[in-house]
């Protein structure tokens, strides 16, 4: 009985994540067109510890606060763009699947799982940035690396190898 409840709970959580992931927030304006997958090297530079170490060495608290706020803003924007890219890949895949006759349920479940895992990593990373800032938590770097791995896998499974090649 407990196992069934855990299974149902996990399934409900997965569907909730998928639902949240596929809808854009109301009133969210998209001023720029789709720009492709966000460049991972930019995120690595946003989280660069040497910039933070330099700012900290200056002992200028106002500058430090401003700098951390700015890097948080940039990290959150990058994470939002990566979620948009994940959504775009999944929507493109869903459109392709609708035209197919030979649907493989296990593959679709794996893609749904990958997307949920990707969303979870992205939302965890965003939460860590909001709570602790972009420099304090080593888990944030791991979360971002996991996010990039999930986006790669999602792109491959959803049939977008060209897009992923362009990121490397």
């Amino acid at each position: 009985m407990t196992e069934v409840l855990v299974f149902l709970g996990a399934g409900a959580a997965l569907f909730l994540l998928l639902f949240l992931g596929l809808r854009r927030a109301d009133g969210e304006l998209e001023l720029e067109g789709p720009t492709g997958p966000p460049d991972p090297s930019v995120m690595r530079r946003i989280l660069a510890q040497q910039d933070m170490a330099y700012i900290a060495s200056l002992r200028l608290p106002r500058i430090q606060r401003f700098f951390v706020r700015e890097r948080s803003r940039l990290a959150l924007a990058w994470l939002r763009a990566s979620r948009d890219e994940g959504r775009r890949l999944l929507q493109r895949h869903a459109e392709a699947v609708r035209r197919q006759r030979d649907i493989r349920p296990m593959t679709e479940i794996r893609i749904a799982w990958l997307f949920a895992s990707f969303l979870l990593a992205s939302l965890t990373a965003a939460g860590l940035v909001r709570l602790c800032g972009p420099f304090r938590v080593p888990a944030l770097r791991r979360s971002v690396e996991h996010l990039l791995g999930s986006l790669d896998s999602l792109g491959r499974m959803a049939g977008a190898p060209a897009l992923l090649d362009s990121r490397s």
């Binding site: 460049d39 530079r45 946003i46 700012i55 200056l58 401003f66 890097r71």
Partner: protein, 150 residues
């Protein structure tokens, strides 16, 4: 217009016009100033005479992109040093330059067209932070208000 012609013009530009400039930021400021604000096209009389206007335009565009990538790829400390070197080489009042750059956000026009939006935002943010650092670490700065609300 061939690739070889553009490469030749790029080398010409790097050797003569850009070669004597003090630092990468000076080159970036110069190259972005050769771009027409309305059309986004680059113009350089001398280069256009030696080569052709089209080749000169391509060479300037390519150099602008390369110099921007170089500066945008630097860490914050290196950017602060670039700004200090640029200020040291100019004969204008350094405080006035900093105030103008900060007030008018001149650094936005240094960005080449078609730049990745995340790279652009990081560059703008870094430049804003670097200007604040330079201003606050100058021997005398006339205003404590060095940070702009975004």
């Amino acid at each position: 217009m061939s690739e070889a012609q553009v490469e030749k013009a790029v080398r010409d530009l790097e050797r003569h016009t850009l070669g004597g400039m003090p630092g990468t930021l000076a080159k970036l400021v110069y190259l972005s100033s050769t771009r027409d604000y309305n059309t986004g096209q680059y113009h350089h009389e001398g280069l256009a005479l030696t080569h052709t206007p089209e080749v000169a335009e391509s060479a300037l565009r390519r150099c602008h992109g390369a110099v921007f990538r170089c500066i945008a790829g630097e860490g914050l400390e290196a950017l602060v040093e670039e700004i200090r070197a640029y200020l040291a080489a100019t004969e204008e009042d350094q405080n006035l330059i900093l105030k103008t750059w900060r007030g008018l956000e001149i650094y936005r026009i240094l960005i080449p067209a078609g730049c990745d939006p995340h790279v652009r935002d990081l560059f703008i943010s870094n430049f804003s932070s670097a200007l604040a650092v330079v201003r606050l670490t100058m021997p005398q700065h006339d205003s404590p208000d060095v940070l702009q609300p975004r």
